[in-house]
């Protein structure tokens, strides 16, 4: 396996970095958050024009057939700039679910997502960190000409703005059966859909959604036997989220090193005190570990060899190492690190969010250990 970036990936990453350095500095982002806008349509359009929105999709649907390593190359700078645009939710989760479907409705919707003209949200989480799709229990009961959805989805990122919801639901069996899962396309304005919107700690717009006897025509079921599709899509989204977290960790390391090297107390830069310098060293070790795990797992995925334990190792490591780095960064910045006015705490909150999505580090570490201890791997 090759772990180094190709020239194309380097160029792609450079062009994203240039865009974000130009138009997405921390102050600009702060103003956007304070204005209540969910994200920047200008940036979304720029990403569409650069082909980043189409990156992970096949050429037949207007994409570029990008690999996991390509997505990681753009996701790292996304994390370093705390991009709040719905790349993971609309492109990598909802969009990729639609891309796995051969239903005409899904393909038509996907075309609008790839161009950035519309966004979709992935309504999957049911409140347990739902790392394993088999835990989905929202009911899709067969009805005349279709299905009736009843139940609740939580923490649906980008739901309020989405033109369509991609909903995972169960047509038969009970959790944790892997069988009986389907994916539906649902119009958020449809009768019976109630949306309770909020903003997450990392500045994203999200919602809890209640489905109360929502009627769905048959042609809006875009996948059945969807367990494997869900697993594939979620695994790839996890790698991208981890790449964002690693980008955030790199920014925290850099900014904290700079701060400690210039901030003076007792007449000397605080980085010259061994307690501080060793904390910086620990941050760097954690960053090197996180990035090694990310790059290796990405290569495994592109080689078709990333199994569930590999994804769990990555997700567990990123959650733990990210928290370590974020907490060390806040401590090193002192009081300033506690304010909303500097980026440090924002990076930390992004990392905490990523840890909590799709199973936190405790969950994933136990999943790895359980599989080893009971002879599964």
């Amino acid at each position: 396996m090759d772990f180094s970036q190709t020239d194309e990936q380097k160029m792609l990453q450079e062009s994203v970095k240039r865009l974000l350095e130009r138009s997405y500095d921390f102050e600009t982002r702060q103003k956007m958050l304070q204005s209540g806008r969910p994200w920047s349509p200008e940036i979304w359009e720029a990403l569409a024009e650069m082909g980043i929105l189409g990156l992970p999709f096949a050429e037949e649907v207007g994409g570029f057939g990008g690999s996991m390593a390509d997505v990681v190359a753009v996701a790292e700078p996304f994390g370093a700039h705390l991009l709040i645009e719905p790349y993971v939710s609309s492109i990598l989760l909802a969009g990729q679910c639609l891309a796995q479907s051969d239903s005409p409705a899904a393909q038509a919707q996907l075309a609008k997502i790839v161009t950035g003209e519309q966004t979709a949200a992935f309504a999957h989480e049911e409140g347990k960190g739902t790392a394993d799709p088999a835990l989905v229990s929202l009911a899709a009961t067969e009805a005349e000409d279709g299905f009736t959805l009843s139940g609740e989805k939580r923490m649906v990122l980008g739901a309020t703005q989405a033109d369509t919801l991609v909903v995972s639901a169960r047509t038969r069996g009970t959790a944790p059966d892997a069988d009986g899962l389907s994916l539906f396309m649902v119009d958020p304005k449809q009768q019976g859909v109630s949306i309770r919107s909020f903003v997450t700690i990392d500045g994203r717009h999200a919602a809890h959604i209640t489905f109360d006897g929502v009627q769905i025509p048959s042609d809006r079921r875009v996948a059945d036997d969807a367990h494997e599709v869900l697993q594939t899509v979620i695994s790839r989204a996890i790698v991208a989220l981890c790449a964002e977290a690693v980008g955030a960790m790199g920014a925290l390391l850099r900014q904290t090193s700079e701060y400690a090297s210039t901030r003076k107390q007792f007449g000397a830069p605080i980085a010259t005190f061994q307690t501080i310098s060793h904390r910086l060293a620990d941050m760097k070790i954690a960053y090197v570990k996180a990035r090694s795990c990310l790059l290796y797992t990405t290569a495994l995925m592109d080689a078709g060899r990333a199994g569930a334990p590999d994804i769990s190792i990555l997700k567990g490591q990123i959650g733990t190492l990210g928290r370590e780095i974020g907490e060390a960064a806040i401590q090193t910045h002192g009081g300033v690190g506690m304010t909303d006015e500097v980026s440090i705490g924002h990076f930390h909150k992004r990392i905490l969010t990523i840890n909590a999505l799709f199973g936190d580090s405790e969950y994933h570490f136990r999943a790895v250990g359980k599989s080893l201890a009971t002879g599964g791997a």
Partner: protein
């Protein structure tokens, strides 16, 4: 980087596995299972090295012209993995990973011809004379002196933490040849052809685990030839720094940890949890095992990236990061081992641990090695530059001037 196909690598793995199935003697295998340190039991380690050398596999990462194998990074990893699967004793590092590579880089032709073949065969073993009772982390403050006298040096002073000095026939050391200028200047790197020169006295020191692994060596007017010098007089510090690169940049360390973790996992399936049921079914144990396995896996991932030539190899802090990660992970694995052994780890069983003693351990083999391994592993964050010194070096790479 990879030039071999999967089929070629699979065939190589099969060849290595088949050889390792038959080549080691029973005593060598026993020594491997009873290894509780980075240093395997001395005699069996040397015997195993001689056998591997016959095959041409004693120093896989040396340049081919000096007896290396010319294997790719993947092949070396495969060799390491198959090696560890069989719990074979690691080859002693001082000669193969330190003096040998140093001589290849900086030795005279005469030194190379004289020493390298006997390093490969294991006929010679080199102990390292660096630290002194008052010069540990601040190594450059060392005082053991060498005064030129004709073609010789006269050495006075002492060296400590000289691993296996009592079993070694040669020694490489740092001596003070000048007190002028900065303390790093005035240090000279010397090779000693013997460890029993007149005036040399070797005293083994018993460690926490009950074994005498390291020693103190005293020099009282010891006359040695100047031809044993590597590099110029008073330039030994840069020679030592060069050697350190080899010591810290060695081969993959993760396979041995992967193997220890597997032994821990298997043992946990036979242990009872105090909460009832098997320890391996205990959720807390599972989570902690998973977290440790994730860290061992990440060390392996890091090592493969480095061996594959990833750009992070250019980071000056990399050797220190690798040393810190590896040493602290060994300790955590050793803690997990004692946790699984529990009370059974408390009995001193030096006789059962001795290779060839024929004494059966009281509990399992993991119970037998757990506590000596744990105690010995306390050294990993102390030797080869304490982890405090490593963190100083890592932090230096982060400071904005």
């Amino acid at each position: 980087m990879s030039s071999q196909t999967k089929e070629e690598l699979d065939a190589f793995r099969a060849e290595v596995a088949a050889y390792l199935d038959t080549a080691p003697t029973d005593a060598i295998r026993e020594a491997g299972r009873k290894t509780t340190s980075a240093f395997a039991p001395f005699e069996q380690g040397a015997a195993w090295q001689a056998i591997l050398n016959e095959k041409g596999w004693a120093a896989p990462d040396w340049p081919e012209e000096y007896g290396g194998t010319g294997w790719s990074a993947e092949q070396r990893t495969i060799f390491e993995e198959e090696y560890r699967k069989q719990d074979l004793p690691p080859l002693l590092p001082n000669s193969l990973k330190m003096v040998g590579p140093l001589l290849i880089d900086l030795g005279t032709e005469e030194q190379k011809a004289k020493y390298l073949p006997r390093i490969l065969s294991g006929e010679d073993y080199w102990t390292q004379g660096y630290s002194e009772p008052n010069s540990g982390s601040d190594l450059a403050s060392l005082k053991c002196s060498a005064v030129a006298d004709g073609d010789d040096y006269i050495i006075d002073g002492s060296k400590i933490w000289t691993t296996f000095a009592h079993k070694s026939n040669r020694m490489f050391m740092l001596v003070r040849t000048s007190n002028e200028g900065k303390k790093q200047q005035g240090i000279t790197f010397l090779l000693l052809d013997r460890t029993d020169f007149a005036g040399m006295d070797v005293r083994p020191i018993k460690g926490l685990d009950g074994h005498a692994e390291f020693c103190e060596v005293f020099f009282d007017n010891v006359r040695v030839p100047q031809s044993g010098r590597v590099g110029a007089e008073n330039e030994g510090w840069s020679v030592a720094k060069h050697l350190l690169k080899h010591e810290r940049n060695g081969s993959a360390n993760s396979p041995v940890l992967v193997r220890y973790l597997k032994r821990i996992t298997e043992a946990a399936q036979d242990e009872t949890s105090p909460f009832g049921g098997k320890l391996s079914d205990d959720p807390v144990f599972q989570r902690d095992l998973g977290a440790l396995h994730a860290d061992v896996t990440t060390l392996a991932q890091f090592e493969r990236l480095i061996m594959g030539g990833h750009e992070m190899i250019n980071d000056p802090a990399l050797p220190s990061i690798a040393k810190t990660m590896n040493s602290e992970l060994i300790q955590r694995v050793s803690v997990m081992m004692t946790r699984v052994a529990g009370l059974e780890g408390l009995s001193m069983q030096l006789d059962a641990l001795a290779v060839g003693s024929g004494v059966d351990p009281m509990g399992s083999e993991l119970d037998l090695i757990s506590m000596p391994f744990y105690l010995n592993s306390r050294a990993t964050t102390i030797y080869a530059g304490t982890n405090e010194v490593q963190r100083d070096l890592i932090a230096r790479s982060l400071q904005i001037a």
